[in-house]
Amino acid sequence: MYWPLYLMIIPGMIFFLVYKYAPMFGIQIAFKNFSLKKGISASPWLWEDGKAWFYWFQRFFRSPANTQIIANTLIISIGKLIAQMIPPLIFALAISETCLKRYARVIQTISYLPHFLSWVIIFGICATMLGESSGVVNNLIRKMGGEAIPFLNNKAYIRGVLIGTSLWQSLGWSSIVFLAAIAGIDTSMYEAATIDGCGRFRKIWYITLPNLGRIFVVLLITKVGHILDGGFEQVYIFLNDRVSSTAQIIDTWVYTQGLGKQQYSLTTAVGLLKSVLSCGLVLGTNALARKWDSSLW
């Protein structure tokens, strides 16, 4: 009796089969000495060329830069994870508590806009705002008698800039989920609390936040899966030689080493490693969430 629903699933299934599962065939080149000429299947396995099966993984871990880039990736990712979870939650609470509904709607719409800007444009805005010699912010600092701050050129600041711009870009957009969840809370609970003499903050603390717990955990689980990504597009654009020691992440390294130098096998090996670890992280977070009865599955 559900056949129309099953029918509707088919296009989605085909999409995943064609674009997500079929390409996994190519994972094998992580264990091969891939040659463009021979193609995926005909390229020799690493052991056929007298190398260990983990040769490419080893090459990644023997890279003198690897501890640095793994640390950078984790720090930037975790920073971004927090920036994309907590501030949007607070923002959503603020929006939902605003009495002036029209005002709230305008603010909300404005906050969505940065989400639609590409990182190239955001970098342009940053360069104009935060540039050391002619940026708006630094001009202001100088006018007030301070020293210019090299936001984009200093390894101490760059992670903050990366996390900050990612917060700026995603604040409004990430709050949508929370707003939807808040709208779904049974209003009779608030009414009961009002009768019991609860103020606004008590209501947030005892009703809204506990009700957002589940959606928070779901978001956390999906985001933890991307913790090894670090946001290639953004970092690649913001990267320069003065900050690369604190801003180079796994993906940008893979790009310069792998695609720039045509080492497809190395790139695939690192990608595979990332995927396996990410999958483990998602499973782990979910298992942890199950303890509080709010797991994804």
């Binding site: 830069a65 540039g131 050391e132 310069t256 045509q262």
Partner: protein, 490 residues
């Protein structure tokens, strides 16, 4: 009715077959490129160069723009007959047997081309001893690195054009603190540059050049020996000067992330180090005058050497900017002959005039002295640079195309260059070259920006780190062996 239709259809098919048999199909060669000239015509019917080549030699030459070139080519190599690639890919594709070995044709079909090319760049076309590439003509004027200077600011402050690093410092200092634009505010800077790329940190290259070195892993040959920019005796002094500029706050530090040309045009900075003198062309001059009607620009190329060598300019020419043509290993004999025909044509006088300047009488004319003069119609031929697959006699060409910038082209062509040999050196497998180069640039900038103490001991420690962590010494040994194999050193 059905019968009638099928009869008609058959008739149409037969007719088209006849037409096919009659028309002489020109041989088509497809060339994959990652950029096309400005205003590239979508339809070959509007492309007068295409039409003329088709008429003259009966070859249909099609250029295809491939987005994300090297990433996409992985799956599309067999679509194209020729590729316009860099040396890194010549090496990697050559080693995978994806490219045609040209040795059998070198003294026959390609003899005229190699004759035309001369011996200058030939080494770069070989991979492990096999000839895979058709290099571009290199006549020493590929990069026009120069520092554009606001002459009116110099005049106003009573300064002369910098000749030494000390002069450059004094001028940059005055441009920053002596209010060259006369607005009573301290809102100007001394020196900016185009952002780093294609092998250079242009903000400091002019300073380092006068110490006969550059900021990066660059293999040089000095006194018949292989050495490295990092090991040059002038390195520490050069770094100290760069630091002095930074400490005095007279350089635009943003030039490490964004190109400073707009600031130069806007009159915020007095000097701008660039590799292409766009500011000298009419549109550049118009832009600068729109902001400052009284602005006068002039330039210098190199500063006097501080280490007794010739004045030198670093341009990174032989590395990343170097482009090579290569042919598909599986090309058919018919297409290969067409490629040879095309190559012969574009190095001929008639063909090179066509691909450099356009159609005679329409886009250019010859004056009484036999010199080429562009007509008003010449902008219609801007896109034809795509056809110049082997580059061009640069100086001659630029003088004709941009007569207003002639003096810059002549000066940059005449300037001494720091020749680098990185592309001829293939790193041993255990070396992480990208990581090492990234670390080198990082640390050199850390020295300049005071994040690392700038002393001889600390610099020696840095070289020690390169040896210990990146096997820099092994790399330099390999460099020596390989350059010796090319006969460049003993």
């Amino acid at each position: 009715m059905k019968k009638l239709i099928s009869l008609l259809l058959t008739a149409v098919m037969l007719l088209s077959l006849c037409a096919f048999a009659h028309a002489e199909e020109p041989v088509e060669i497809r060339i994959a490129v990652n950029t096309l000239g400005n205003g590239w015509p979508a339809d070959p019917a509007d492309d007068f160069v295409y039409q003329k080549i088709l008429k003259d030699i009966g070859v249909s030459v099609k250029f295809d723009l491939v987005d994300n070139f090297y990433e996409s080519m992985g799956t599309r190599m067999d679509v194209y007959d020729m590729y316009r690639i860099d040396v890194d890919h010549l090496i990697s594709w050559g080693r995978q047997d994806l490219l045609l070995d040209l040795a059998p044709y070198k003294d026959k079909e390609l003899a005229a081309y190699f004759d035309w090319l001369g011996a200058t760049q030939l080494n770069a076309a070989y991979v492990d001893g096999t000839l895979y590439g058709l290099p571009q003509l290199y006549d020493g004027s590929k990069s026009q690195l120069n520092v554009t200077v606001r002459q009116d600011w110099l005049d106003k402050l009573g300064l002369k054009m910098p000749e030494t690093v000390q002069d450059l410092y004094d001028v940059a200092y005055a441009f920053t603190f002596n209010d060259p634009d006369g607005n009573g505010q301290q809102d100007t800077l001394g020196l900016t540059a185009q952002k780093p790329g294609n092998g250079g940190i242009f903000l400091f290259d002019t300073i380092m050049g006068s110490y006969d070195t550059a900021l990066g892993n660059y293999i040089l040959i000095r006194d018949g020996k292989v050495t490295n920019a990092l090991l040059q005796p002038g390195m520490l002094e050069g770094l100290k000067w760069c630091k002095k500029f930074v400490d005095a706050k007279i350089v635009d530090n943003d030039a490490l992330t964004t190109t400073g040309t707009d600031k130069f045009i806007a009159g915020q900075v007095g000097m701008n180090a660039v590799t292409w003198p766009g500011i000298w062309k009419q549109y550049g001059q118009d832009k600068i005058h729109a902001v400052n009607p009284d602005a006068v620009t002039s330039f210098f190329t190199t500063l006097k050497s501080e280490v007794g060598a010739e004045d030198a300019m670093f341009t990174g020419d032989l590395s990343t900017t170097n482009i090579i043509m290569a042919i598909n290993a599986d090309i058919s004999e018919e297409k290969l002959q067409a490629v040879f025909k095309y190559i012969d044509y574009i190095i001929s006088d008639e063909g090179s005039d066509l691909i450099f300047y356009g159609i005679e009488g329409d886009h250019w004319v010859r004056d009484e002295n036999g010199n080429v003069k562009m007509t008003e119609n010449a902008t219609a031929a801007n896109y034809i640079s795509t056809y110049q697959i082997f580059s061009r006699k640069e100086l001659e060409y630029l003088k004709v195309k941009f007569p207003e910038a002639q003096q810059v082209f002549e000066a940059t062509t005449a300037a001494n260059r720091i020749e680098i040999y990185n592309t001829l050196v293939l790193e041993p497998e255990e070396i992480y070259l990208e990581d090492m180069e990234s670390y080198v640039r990082q640390q050199l900038l850390a020295f300049i920006y005071g994040e690392r103490e700038l002393t001889q001991e600390e610099y020696d420690k840095f070289i020690g780190e390169l040896n210990d962590n990146f096997q820099f010494d092994v790399y330099m040994e390999a460099a020596h062996d390989q350059l010796a194999a090319y006969g460049l050193v003993d």
